[in-house]
Symmetry: C2
Subunit: 340 residues, 2 copies
């Protein structure tokens, strides 16, 4: 990188999406993972593959399983254990999405009707439970207690993060520490675990496993903060997401927290009405964007995301120089500087 | 037993509840399990122990953890591994109850307001996820892949059973095979797994592990069928359950399935209205009970439950003669012949 990330101007052309290059490089692995996902979401209870398939086939970016594959490949691992664990990570993520949509009463996910809207909350909860159980079956088949420790721990932390987030919705007193605690648990923890198990599978020592975990944690933080910024600033269409979704749900994200910290009395009243009381008119989102701009809240949030990205890149310095390291570095830069 | 179970008249005085005697015998173990449950449901996210504690402290019968303790003790196991696994079984059960109540939109559980009614569906789903994850952390700490295989498999089967049950609610075409498939998965599987892991911990061979699994499976079937009969026939107050709950929810249980199989045109119309269309008046429950009596549907269902009980007792014949074997035999008889 020629320029320190934190100085990169927000108006610069966004970097190319490195997921394409990573997907090409890991194509054989990814196909094996996709085949496993399709195979292991099957059940004689036909509603299960129907509902799970609706979400899984809608094609998320598979970023978490890719991280497991990339991490294993980074260390030159040549076996196939990472396929099962990547599928397992995707099942945990999918189960979380299903339960999230029930919790948020969402009717859209990945640009399609959400599973709960189509199949009912009941089925979405129970199929989430099934996928979660299936993930643990896959881990058990792998047979590594270290992997089980990492992923069962991650699952517990994710659930804690989701509960913690419940308390913050519509609470304009939510501070930055609380926000970071939530996103570390509900987003970054699974990125960290996905990276770490790749290193564990490759039988690396504690230092390199910790380095990959560290990279994943920082990637997750950077990714989520940037995502929360994009809710106010995306310049291109995002899969299943519309500008202003978080605002409309009254979510206390970093840009809003920063703006509230500097709000005058009128602005505080505005946030209190829109986020606290969820009383919003059509003009309010534009007004929110104007307030965020006035306080540089988006720029500042992105600068924070970049600090995580730099820490993630620094963490990778401890591991060897495989070409995949460059891709992982590009990915964390892209996570911050994407415009969609 | 002097008299074959299947010939035991329904009017006979019900047997004493053997759970009391088992609880006394295993008191030290059970205290260790309760301490572990309280300790491991803790989280810095205070809503988690509040919500989980609401349900756990309401004091279910702890029948599933008792099965794990009894099974380990049956084989003279003298270590402490069974404590962690019994807590784990109770966590899986509690997670299932939390999600069940969301699915059923229940407002009562164990005689108190249900967790979803008090804390909201969102929190109930997420705390269920937390307890489920915690269960897998406990298993991982135990470190036996065989135990992990049994309990992750059971969890997947339970979720499948719950989804399968969704399809049967309000469907008066549900047949006995479907009903049995549902209760085997959603109820009996965890009883079976709870018993089996006790034998695994005691390092018994495949035959004895299978015998305990077999006993637990039959206990679960007998227990659930009797429970479904009691919904129409309980003579004493049952913890958190009222006479007619299943009927009011339009559940297709064995007594109803048997009665519908023999219904004349008028009765079929009655079931179709009450269960299929959920159009019920206050007098309908008494009418349902009268129809069930006319077709001996409760007696026949109990006879079916007794057949499972006999199979469970037969399964135990393969294991040694510890005093606990008698308690387990008493328990399966009680599961069928209790009047509450």
């Amino acid at each position: 990188m020629q320029m320190p990330l934190t100085n990169r101007p927000i108006q610069a052309a966004p970097p190319a999406n490195p997921l394409g290059a990573m997907t090409n490089l890991l194509q054989t692995d990814l196909q094996a993972v996709n085949a496993l996902i399709m195979q292991r979401m099957q059940s004689e209870v036909t509603l299960i593959p129907e509902l799970a398939g609706h979400l899984i086939a809608a094609g998320g970016k598979r970023i978490r399983p890719l991280l497991t594959l990339a991490s294993a490949a980074l260390f030159g691992y040549e076996g196939t254990r990472q396929h099962r664990l990547a599928a397992c990570v995707e099942f945990i993520h999918t189960a979380t999405l299903l339960h999230d949509d029930v919790v948020d009463a969402s009717d859209q996910r990945r640009g399609r009707s959400s599973a709960n809207a189509l199949f009912g909350n009941e089925a979405a909860v129970l199929v989430g439970d099934f996928l979660f159980s299936r993930a643990f079956q896959l881990m058990t088949e792998d047979g590594s207690l270290e992997v089980l420790r990492i992923l069962s721990g991650a699952s517990a932390v994710i659930a804690e993060g989701e509960v913690l987030q419940l308390a913050a919705v519509n609470d304009i007193g939510t501070d930055e520490a609380h926000y970071k605690r939530v996103i570390a648990a509900k987003t970054a923890e699974l990125f960290a675990a996905a990276c770490e198990v790749g290193a564990v599978v490759a039988e690396r020592g504690a230092e390199e496993c910790a380095a990959l975990r560290n990279y994943g944690m920082n990637l997750g933080m950077a990714f989520q903060i940037a995502d929360d910024v994009l809710d106010y600033a995306a310049r291109r269409e995002r899969l299943g997401k519309s500008l202003g979704d978080d605002f409309k749900e009254g979510k206390m994200t970093l840009p809003v927290i920063r703006a509230i910290a500097r709000a005058d009395a009128a602005e505080r009243k505005f946030w209190s009405r829109c986020i606290g009381d969820m009383e919003q008119s059509d003009a309010d989102f534009a007004q929110a964007c104007a307030i965020l701009a006035r306080h540089d809240a988006l720029e500042e949030s992105l600068a924070e995301a970049r600090r995580y990205a730099e820490q993630g890149i620094a963490a990778l310095a401890a591991v060897g120089g495989s070409p995949l390291r460059g891709h992982l570095e590009d990915l964390i830069v892209f996570a911050v500087d994407r415009d969609y």
